[in-house]
């Protein structure tokens, strides 16, 4: 027991806090979806068939021999949903700062269109990809700049306006046409493998790692949390609030450029109306990952699990021909449930105490 003026410096491991984390629930949902996928589809990891093929092996060696197959299957599945998930990380930064960027979908479209056009105009494909990244970054930078110059404006409104403008520019440039005919190797960016691992999955993991380190291990990340917890006190503490906000929005633009590249590579061509509604999907993934829209809370690991949860859910339902509509409903309800969960306890307590007033 410390004396009156003693203050403990070490932090005992908090078991309770460790287990009461949203990420565990998310992980359970993820596993449940895997189980469901096994049951739903004969095509998803056809265990019976595989067992027949290797009938001479005992169960245990057979199971361990299966692991690479399972992983490979999972890896393949990820190609179907990872393209938009690159934006999830900078969006997590922005939402942790209690802000929002709804222009990312339009930024993807504009980056993709300009990439296509600059390739068509004779630029080499690698350079055209740089154009996509640059365009994305500029779009994000403009958002950030407006927001720090006019701090009184709500991010929702400013990015709503730029959302319409960015897609508008893409429409002016390409009208209802599409650009395509990219070099053959370009589609490998999305569809290609590095050894057994899809390039896109590799890129996603590296991105997740980099953003995770930035958010959780650097002063920049700490300051992002600070701004989300109390922007005024952060400013008074010498946190370069404006610089960090601009950087976060620029990163969102940059990652939209990355998404533009993967998306275009997957589809083989691009048009101004691609990536419509991506902003809402991305926000949904971030919030489902446990990032609080009230600011100051959330982790990269949660958003990663959430990306895979939604991705596999979509894939599994697709396998069984239960199409996107149920997925929409499930995602929508999960989203609300995720946000509602922490509110339920105080709500119940007040309801209970209203029903059972303390006796005098």
């Amino acid at each position: 027991m410390p004396g009156p003026h003693e203050i403990a410096a070490d932090r005992p491991f908090a078991w309770k806090a460790f287990f009461f984390q949203w990420e565990w629930i998310l992980l359970l949902v993820f596993l449940a979806i895997q189980v469901m996928n096994f049951h739903l589809s004969p095509y998803y990891l056809d265990l019976a068939h595989l067992r027949e093929e290797a009938a001479d092996l005992a169960w245990w060696p057979w199971l361990t021999s299966l692991i690479p197959a399972v992983l490979a299957n999972w890896a393949d599945v990820t190609i179907s949903f990872l393209d938009k998930s690159f934006i999830v990380f900078p969006m997590a930064f922005i939402i942790i700062m209690a802000e929002i960027d709804i222009s990312v979908g339009s930024t993807v479209a504009l980056s993709a269109v300009l990439m296509g056009l600059s390739y068509k105009a004779g630029l080499s494909m690698p350079l055209a990809m740089v154009v996509a990244l640059a365009v994305g970054s500029v779009c994000g930078f403009i958002n950030g700049l407006i927001l720090v110059k006019y701090r009184e404006l709500a991010p929702m409104i400013v990015t709503l306006a730029t959302m319409i403008i960015y897609r508008g520019i893409a429409l002016i440039l390409l009208e209802d046409q599409a650009v395509g005919k990219f070099p053959a190797w370009f589609q490998n960016i999305c569809w290609g493998y590095l050894g057994p691992v899809p390039i896109m999955l590799l890129a996603f993991c590296v991105t997740a790692l980099v953003f995770g380190i930035i958010l959780h291990r650097t002063t920049f990340g700490r300051q992002v949390y600070a701004i989300g917890s109390n922007p005024v006190a952060s400013l008074f503490s010498g946190v370069p609030v404006a610089r960090i906000r601009v950087t976060a929005y620029t990163l969102a633009g940059l990652m939209s450029g990355v998404t533009a590249i993967f998306l275009t590579s997957r589809m083989g061509s691009t048009r101004p109306n691609v990536a419509t509604g991506y902003e809402l999907d991305v926000i949904a993934m971030v919030v489902l990952g446990g990032v609080s829209t009230a600011g100051g809370r959330g982790r990269i690991i949660g958003t990663v699990i959430s990306v895979f949860t939604i991705g596999f859910l979509r894939y599994g339902l697709g396998l069984r021909n239960i199409s996107a509509e149920y997925l929409l409903i499930i995602i929508g309800l999960l989203l609300i449930f995720a946000v509602m969960l922490p509110n339920l306890r105080p709500l119940y307590t007040s309801w209970y105490s209203a029903r059972h007033p303390r006796r005098q």
């Binding site: 709503l160 403008i165 809402l280 509509e325 409903i329 989203l335 609300i336």
Partner: protein, 341 residues
Amino acid sequence: MPQGTEKNPLDKESSSFLAKVSRFRETGLFLFILVVMLLTHLKNPNFFSLENLDDLLTNTAILSILALGMMLVIITRGIDLSLGSTLALSGMITALTVSSYPTLHPLLAIALGTLIGIVCGSLVGLGVAVFGVLPIIASLGMMYVYRGLTYIVSGRRWVNASQMPESFKAIATTRLFDIRLYIFIAIVFYLAFYYFTNYTRTGRRIYAVGSNPDSAAITGIKTWRFIWLVYAIMGGLSGFCGVLWVSKFASAQGDTASGYEMNVIAACVLGGVNIMGGSGRVGGVLLGAVLLGTLNNALPMVNMSVFWQNAIQGSIILVAILVNAQVKRNVDRGNLLRRHI
């Protein structure tokens, strides 16, 4: 009391000046709409033809009605992203119903659509008002749910014109005194909302709740009821407009009005509804909706490619926001400088 007079005239002046600015905003918007119209008319004299004006207003009617609901939601510091989906769901169910029961009276169809909308909106409101989910998340979640339901009830098929009875399609084509019914409906809604927001206790309390929720609670106002109410109204209007929409385009699809919520929000922002809650006026919202409608109508008339529409709309919204912020800054700074040191 010479010291007493030092400060007071200034307060009066600043308040009346602020009032002027807010009026200036609406007048400015009005003048801007006129300029757009006149320029269009110079390029294409058909613009001011009765036929075209009738078209313009009919096309703006749905947007302007939805903007009224969104105004209430934004006044309570909320946002509703689910209205496009609600509109689609109500439109789809109504369309399926009338195609199965062609004898159904159009008024009943409208009532059905509105009811579906109210239920949808109430669920969003339940999440926001009772379970404390942030409006953007609650409405985003329900947006997915309603969109999914729309696809499910339709079995991913369209309901097209040939499946709808004439009586239903007639909602869109009916004219009163040679003016399209939709315009009358919009006018009725605007009058009703003007009365509601200015002359009823409930209407004013919605403003109070948005202006300062904590003190509203201390005053004994049950804030959650009003928050719930505005989402239910928004849902009801979306459902109602779903019927109008389906009747007008004579088709109901799964992706009807997808993304339309952004147009509605844009109309409110242009109309001067403060996204931080507490203020917003029916007249401003009308002007905001009419400006967007005018642009949609005018661009094709001056042979400007429709592909320019988004960019121009977006730029106008951005400029309006920035100019507004700058004017407010200048006013504040002017007030400061007049302070005698």
